[in-house]
Subunit: 447 residues, 2 copies
Amino acid sequence: MGSPVVASEEMVAVGVRARAAALAMARVGGLAKDAALTAVHAALASAKADILAANGRDKAAAAARVADGGLPAATAKRLELGGAKFDALLQGVTSVRALPDPVGTVSRATRLDDGLDLYRVATPIGVIAVVFEARPEAAVQIAALAIKSANAVILKGGKEAEASNAILVQCIRKGLAAADFPVDAVQLVATRGEVAQLLSLNTHIDLVIPRGSNALVKYITENTKIPVMGHADGLCAVYVDAAADMDKAVAIVVDAKAQYPAVCNAAETVLVHADVAPTALPRLAAGLAAAGVELRADDRAYAVLRPDGSDDASSADGACVVRACADDWDTEFLELTVALGVVESLDAAVDHINAHGSHHTDAIVTEDSAAAGAFLARVDSAGVFHNASTRFADGFRYGFGAEVGVSTHRTHARGPVGLEGLLIYKYRLYGQGHTVAALFILGTGAE
Amino acid sequence: MGSPVVASEEMVAVGVRARAAALAMARVGGLAKDAALTAVHAALASAKADILAANGRDKAAAAARVADGGLPAATAKRLELGGAKFDALLQGVTSVRALPDPVGTVSRATRLDDGLDLYRVATPIGVIAVVFEARPEAAVQIAALAIKSANAVILKGGKEAEASNAILVQCIRKGLAAADFPVDAVQLVATRGEVAQLLSLNTHIDLVIPRGSNALVKYITENTKIPVMGHADGLCAVYVDAAADMDKAVAIVVDAKAQYPAVCNAAETVLVHADVAPTALPRLAAGLAAAGVELRADDRAYAVLRPDGSDDASSADGACVVRACADDWDTEFLELTVALGVVESLDAAVDHINAHGSHHTDAIVTEDSAAAGAFLARVDSAGVFHNASTRFADGFRYGFGAEVGVSTHRTHARGPVGLEGLLIYKYRLYGQGHTVAALFILGTGAE
């Protein structure tokens, strides 16, 4: 972890204000939260011109850096808040407001004794820090989720979106103030060295959510004692079983790889059972080639697809096929490239995926329900799919209404995370003067 | 965190074997786990003489250290495995076996489209490390919970119980082998420097559970990137409201403080509403004095209890009353001492508890349901109790059947944690060739 970072007084004060806001929110009910979201929506809508002006400054600065080669064009593009993006930003607030209030839901109720009732009740986690990169609309989406879940949030955006983030958070706080809601429920930090300082506030912050590149997630995971919810990699696989329906296999593999290759739920590896490789591989190759995908084939797949040893795209499948190197099985390509291998059995596919995958989402294509059952039980991933594309691994498609992120961690929340991931619970016990001594329950366990 | 610890090859191998066992357990069902627990029970029962002989060696070594002043007598006492302890140890295995299989429980089911069904299914977390101190029976209890939840566990016991732990884990593994169950589901590490090395295995271990002193928990929390589930402090409070029934108040306060003062759910602070202080304090003082409790009173409480300024235990209440110092409000006494204060309002009580408590368990005594509702909503603790003793905060009393520990963290699990705390979930999606492209669902969020 290197030498310990000491947070500045200003940064500690941000943490203290966030905790105070979190405690103050324990007094507000669902109606007050929805009213706050309405006011936030109004504040953003009425400041549209100013927001787009600030966004224009960020975009101009980014364009200059792109011209200098100092910033990738894709990063600059993500700054855009104009046009349909602005409407989507406002719609996001309305959508979160429309979700059922998640706080107060009872997930367990037990009568411990006459007149002694225990309830497990959903509560906010407390103070959440979110570190996000270029997209400024994330500030609005996260703030809306925090308000709905009654968590205080500390936002740290990327410097490319500094002006956009500043005015968005200013509008959000103006809306909160207008609704008489704790204003420090949403704070933005924008001082230098702020990420390292934020990550040192482990007594003030209960959860950190990184939203951005693998490098950002890894940096945060390595540099804080605060629990982190996020995912660093999305190395998803599709396994085409011996009993696969080949039409489904081609459709699913092409969708998983090529429908949107830059996202974490896109497939990077396709494994084909040896029994069907001679017929399946040419069809898969043709389908992937038609979608513009380059194939990195293992020796057995290569031998099927290019028996003459050439990597000629003028073959019947029209595909660009090259020999896979060892690293290809551990690479999240995030582009139109896929590693394609032949496995001897379902067991070999499972072992490969558990060893090389990122435990995000993996799919089997098969008409054999026993094979599907084995794959879904034994693949150790947040999502295990039968006859469906890995691209379905998404909070919106899962029906959560909003997505906080995708977790490949194994505690708290796993897979796509909706509003529920921002909650924990407390136990409420209602008695009538009950004492342990009177119930003659002997202590065990920790006692 | 100091300089990074590098795990030895042997320690890494322990982690690798644990992961392999965890993956192998994905193949076993509830019957196989229960059969393994039966075999573990039999192996322990049949090795009773050897276990007690090994335990005798630990006890003799500890007795010598106690005589030298090198070990507290209480620590030595916790080593005992003979008599009723051995029966309880065996009974613990049977009790865990009797619990319903927690793996595979469906907590969410959604039809996403025609023939496209999503299920959220409980799964083991994976590999769990448990660091525990003197009590060797903890090894058996934890192993039983791990087997039932299909997690692989790496146990690190205290050196005082080295011989006891070694033979217990040897018997457990013998039982697992006899039942043809993955033997490395339960491993014991006992090399020097092992805790720091274990804590460095953040890619091999998914969760660390410290069971022992505050110092142990703090050390672990400060020295690992692996998620930690545990609690460092138990600074619980009872607030006696203006509308309290005084019989209930006295019974609850005495039970919470004195029934078993050495445990984390015992009360350390009692706050009394100013309106009832003149009548409540003498009754509370008398009740606590009868239980042998020393009172550390704030100025207002002192003025009521000792209007002449003396701390004479020959007063009507019979209590030993001294003036509280500032530290008393932040001290987990764990003995027959309590901090006793007067507050102006329920708000002041809530603020005091949120500022000075450890977010473990706090209680209000009142007949005013609005006051109870406000207290339970606004006190930011894992357990919030109305008219019941804080001593009920315990996995067994909560009806969990087994307790993994008590968590004061705000993610994953909070409060007493049962078998459920050793589980997470995966999403299973069953389709019929479904692709995202064909459903025309537009990407949002992360895309």
